[in-house]
Structure formats: structure tokens, C-alpha cells
């Protein structure tokens, strides 16, 4: 059974603490999965305090955002949360389109919902799979990773890239969905429930896993709100906030799905929320692929943001002009002198962009609100009083991605 946290321990500063042991966890440790470092203060096996030291992967993404144009920067967003890049693409261009005041075509909205939900499944598969791996369930991880490969394959058929997709464009998408993508997605919807059932049977009532995660890293609802948590971390603590339901962006109003919550707030609750969210995402994927509206994926030439169809460029004067203006570096599209915040429900939590436009094709400021950064700040609070081996369980349940954490 997990040990109860030591809340009564008095850490007065004047008292000598020679018996405490300092341990560096990371930055290169197999169980952190990414590049992050923790300085731990241990009393035997018990963690007295944890001091996160981050920034090893800081690459100045927000500074680069002030120098790349709105379409180019999508390649940088791929590299933020690299286990679900499509969600970042959708969030970034959603924010740009909110700034420009663009209304997307229904088909584009559905395809964006489809890719966002597929990437949510893929993110949760890796997060839960790695949580299983860290607590000793290697087979479980392989089950999860096999299905991730299937999703990679769908993305590759869709846009040519498996990992860094850069699939969205201002006012549209890189390519339309082909019949092969629909076929592969249908096959995934047919086969995935079997794996998901298997995964649930493998771990949901597995005594080793439940003992390692139940009652570990408890986050109460008040703390979750006070510390700005969002996504599965907040929903595991009983916060019912889900932006897909609360502020339906894209086409989420049209879909039938549930928001998954738990009251317990421990690692096991976060694991269960993610498992259940995969079922709900699968429902959305099925609905999106069967009800895909016909029509164009890009906005029309009147908006002057997406390149017109080649046939239009060669046969109509509007198409030629529109193509020319977008191609010339001194024309581009009109951006207001304004600021906007747009948030999406990414797999990890609320992923938003605060964009300041200054009339040019490049953002004046491109702030990313990274859920990993907010959640890692909670980590010392969750781990205090638990044992050294619980660190991997708590880290795994928060799903910290260092590339998004440091940007």
C-alpha cells in the first residue's frame, strides 16, 4: 500500500538537516522520458522536497514566432508537444484565424476536429502507455504504441509527414482528405476498440499498477483551480471544465460526446480519465468521418488568405490576382492592429495562443500557453511525502513534455 504523505513534518530553516540526502533526478534519466531535472531532498526513501530545474530544451520558440510569418510558424508548433503535433497546429491557426476574423468552411472544421481527436487518442496512448511502462507494465506500452503507429500511418496518408505534420494553413488545410484516409480511419475505428478493451483489462484492475497509482499524488479540486490546472489533470480532480463543451470551437457543437471526470484526483484517476477520453474521442472520430460535409476545405478567394485552386489560378482573373498577392512578400493578407487569445482543449490541457498583430504577415508577439509548464509547477506539491519510486508514477500521470515545457 502507498504510504500516506507526511504533512506534519516541520522544516524549520534553523534546524540542521544533515540527515537529508540530495539527489539529482535527470536531466538524462530514462524515467523522465524527456529532458527535465529535479533536485530531490530525501529522508531515506521519502521525498521531503522536490525542486524542478527546467530550461534544458529552451529554444526560444516565442522569439522565433516574432520572425516567422503566420503560415511558417506552424512548423515550430509541431515541435512543442511533439506527441500530438496536429493539436498544436489546430490551436495555432485557430488563434490566427480568430485574429483575422476568418470563418472556416464546414469541411475544414470537420477535418480539423477529426485530426485533433486522432491526435488526442495518440497522445493519451503514449501518456498512459508510458505510465504503464514506468510502473512495470511493458506489454501494455507495446499495445499502446502499436495503435499509435496506425494513427501515424493515417497522418502520413493525409499530409505526407508522420511526426511533424504542419497540416493546417491560414484559412484552410494543406490537402483535402482522400478516400484512402477515410478508408484507413474507418479501419482504425473498427479495430481500435479491441485494443482499448485489452488495455483496460490489462491495467485497470492490475494490483501492481493500482497499488502504485491509487492515492499517490493527490490534487484536490481547490488546488487544481488555484494552480491553473486544465485538461485531464484538472478533470481527474473533479473540475468539469472542457473547452470542447464549454466554449465549442470549430464544429464541436455538432458532436455527441461526454466530458470525462473523476473526483479522486490521484494518479489512478488521471489514468482513468485519459482511458475514458479515448473512448469519447473515438466516438467523435467516427461521427466526423461519417458526416464529413462536402465542399471546399479552404476559404474562398474573397478572404485572400488561402491559395486558390490551381484551375482557378489559370482560368480566372480573380484566382490569378489572389495567387499573385499572396505570393508577393509585400502584399499578403490584412492583419488588424489587435490582440487576441484563443484556446483549444489539447490532449494535455488548455493550449492557447496570445497573438498580437501589427499589420504585417508576422506576429508582433506569439505567446503560447503551454499546459505542461503549468502542470509541472504543481509537481513538487504532489510528490512531497511520497517515496522516490512514486516520482515516475506522478510524472507519468501529469504527461510533462519537455519541448512544450521549455519551448
Amino acid at each position: 500500500m502507498p504510504l500516506a504523505p507526511v504533512e506534519t513534518l516541520d522544516l524549520a530553516h534553523d534546524e540542521p538537516q544533515d540527515y537529508l540526502w540530495t539527489l539529482n533526478f535527470g536531466p538524462q534519466h530514462p524515467a523522465t522520458h524527456t529532458t527535465l531535472r529535479l533536485v530531490l531532498k530525501l529522508d531515506g526513501e521519502r521525498v521531503i522536497d522536490a525542486i524542478p530545474d527546467i530550461g534544458y530544451l529552451h529554444s526560444g520558440f516565442e522569439k522565433i514566432g516574432e520572425h516567422l510569418n503566420y503560415n511558417q510558424y506552424v512548423t515550430i508548433t509541431d515541435r512543442m508537444n511533439y506527441i500530438s503535433p496536429m493539436s498544436n497546429n489546430v490551436a495555432w491557426h485557430g488563434a490566427v484565424e480568430a485574429l483575422l476574423g476568418l470563418e472556416l468552411t464546414p469541411r475544414c472544421k470537420y477535418i480539423r476536429v477529426l485530426i485533433a481527436e486522432l491526435s488526442r487518442i495518440s497522445d493519451h496512448l503514449l501518456c498512459n502507455g508510458a505510465a504503464g511502462l514506468d510502473t512495470g507494465a511493458f506489454t501494455y506500452f507495446l499495445y499502446a504504441f502499436y495503435q499509435r503507429e496506425v494513427i501515424y500511418d493515417i497522418f502520413e496518408t493525409l499530409c505526407g509527414a508522420r511526426f511533424t505534420n504542419s497540416y493546417t494553413r491560414v484559412g484552410g488545410l494543406m490537402y483535402d482528405v482522400t478516400p484512402l484516409v477515410i478508408e484507413k480511419t474507418r479501419a482504425f475505428c473498427k479495430n481500435f476498440p479491441k485494443t482499448l478493451h485489452d488495455m483496460e483489462r490489462l491495467l485497470n484492475r492490475n494490483k501492481i499498477f493500482v497499488d502504485r497509482t491509487k492515492g499517490v499524488g493527490v490534487l484536490t479540486k481547490e488546488k487544481a483551480l488555484n494552480r491553473s490546472c486544465s485538461g485531464p489533470v484538472a478533470r481527474g480532480s473533479g473540475v468539469t471544465r472542457d473547452l470542447r463543451k464549454d466554449e465549442p470551437y470549430l464544429a464541436y457543437k455538432d458532436f455527441d460526446f461526454q466530458v470525462c471526470c473523476s473526483r479522486a484526483g490521484d494518479c489512478y484517476a488521471r489514468y482513468l480519465v485519459r482511458m475514458q477520453e479515448m473512448w469519447e474521442s473515438l466516438k467523435i472520430v467516427e461521427q466526423a468521418i461519417e458526416n464529413l460535409p462536402p465542399g471546399p476545405v479552404d476559404v474562398g478567394i474573397d478572404q485572400r488568405t488561402a491559395f486558390p485552386d490551381k484551375r482557378m489560378v489559370y482560368s480566372t482573373i480573380e484566382g490569378t490576382i489572389s495567387h499573385f498577392e499572396l505570393q508577393m512578400s509585400n502584399r499578403g493578407f490584412e492583419v488588424p492592429h489587435e490582440e487576441i487569445y484563443f484556446a483549444t482543449e489539447a490532449p494535455n490541457g488548455e493550449l492557447g495562443f496570445y497573438i498580437v498583430g501589427d499589420g504585417t504577415e508576422t506576429a508582433y508577439r506569439a505567446r503560447c500557453r503551454p499546459p505542461s509548464f503549468i502542470h509541472f509547477a504543481v509537481f513538487p506539491h504532489l510528490i512531497r511525502g511520497h517515496t522516490l519510486s512514486d516520482i515516475v508514477a506522478v510524472l507519468g500521470s501529469l504527461n510533462i513534455i519537455a519541448a512544450e515545457l521549455d519551448r
Binding site: 530550461g55 483551480l225 494552480r227 466554449e247 509547477a377
Partner: protein, 166 residues
Amino acid sequence: MNSDQQAHDALKNRLAEAATSEFRGQARAVVPAEQILEALKFLRNERGFDLLIDITCVDYLRYRGAADRFGLVYLLANTQTNERLTVRTFLNEPEPSVPSMTPLWEGANWMEREVWDMFGIHFEGHPDLRRILLPEEFAAFPLRKDYPLQGRGERHNFPVLTREGA
């Protein structure tokens, strides 16, 4: 009526009328820096904005029509009604400083550290205002607009470790 109450009413009027604006359905308010703590406390306790989404900053050095150097942005949300509010405050050099929000939201801790790290804005009363993403000895604030994209040669000053010397 005591002075606290008066300040409170003044703020209420301020948030209700004077400095609010709207852009594409998003409500925004501008609050002077000396009233920001009081304003956010009021919004949190009495208007139900219980979730601090983000704290960020914009450097308006070369921005058309900007009168102030820095704009500090607080993004708030109400989890009951799903309203959102953007509260902004403007700061100037030489020593941009603003009260810390850590007494209201513990989540503000790292957000303010990041703003300090990138823009050099000081948060009074912050429990642990250290650099967070950049190394401790870094001397500049890189997201300021007068800092070049290529950097100022900081990389050259990193100590080189060789196989023999390590």
C-alpha cells in the same frame, strides 16, 4: 463609508465602464498598475473569475500608436459561467514593477517567473523570483524587442568541457 470601500466602488465603476473594450467577442479591461492587485482580487472574489489562465507580457517598443513600453496581460476565466476576461496593465522603464499575484493564485508563481526571465518585469512580493528557463548567469531579457534574434554572443561564453578536462 471607509476609504477601502470607496476604492472598491471606484474600481467597480472602472471595470464596468471606462477602460473596457471588446474585440471579436472577447472582453478586455485596462487597469493602472498600482490597482492591479486590488482589481484582480475583486474579480476573483466577487465576479467569480477563479481560474488564472495565464500571465504574459508584450513589449510595445516599436508598436504603432503605443504609449507605454510593456503591456502585462492577465487572462482570467470563470469556471461557472465560462466567461473570459483579459486584464491588461501598462508599465514603463526604468524599473517596471507590479505586485505579484501569488497571494491570490499559487499558479501565478511560474508564470511570473517566466515573465521576469523573458522581460525583466519585477513582481513585488513574489516568493521565489529567479530565472526559470534561462541559466542563472544570463544577463539579458531575450523577449524584449531590443534583443536581437541571434542573441548577443552568450553562447560563446559558455565554458567548454573537453573529454580530458571533465
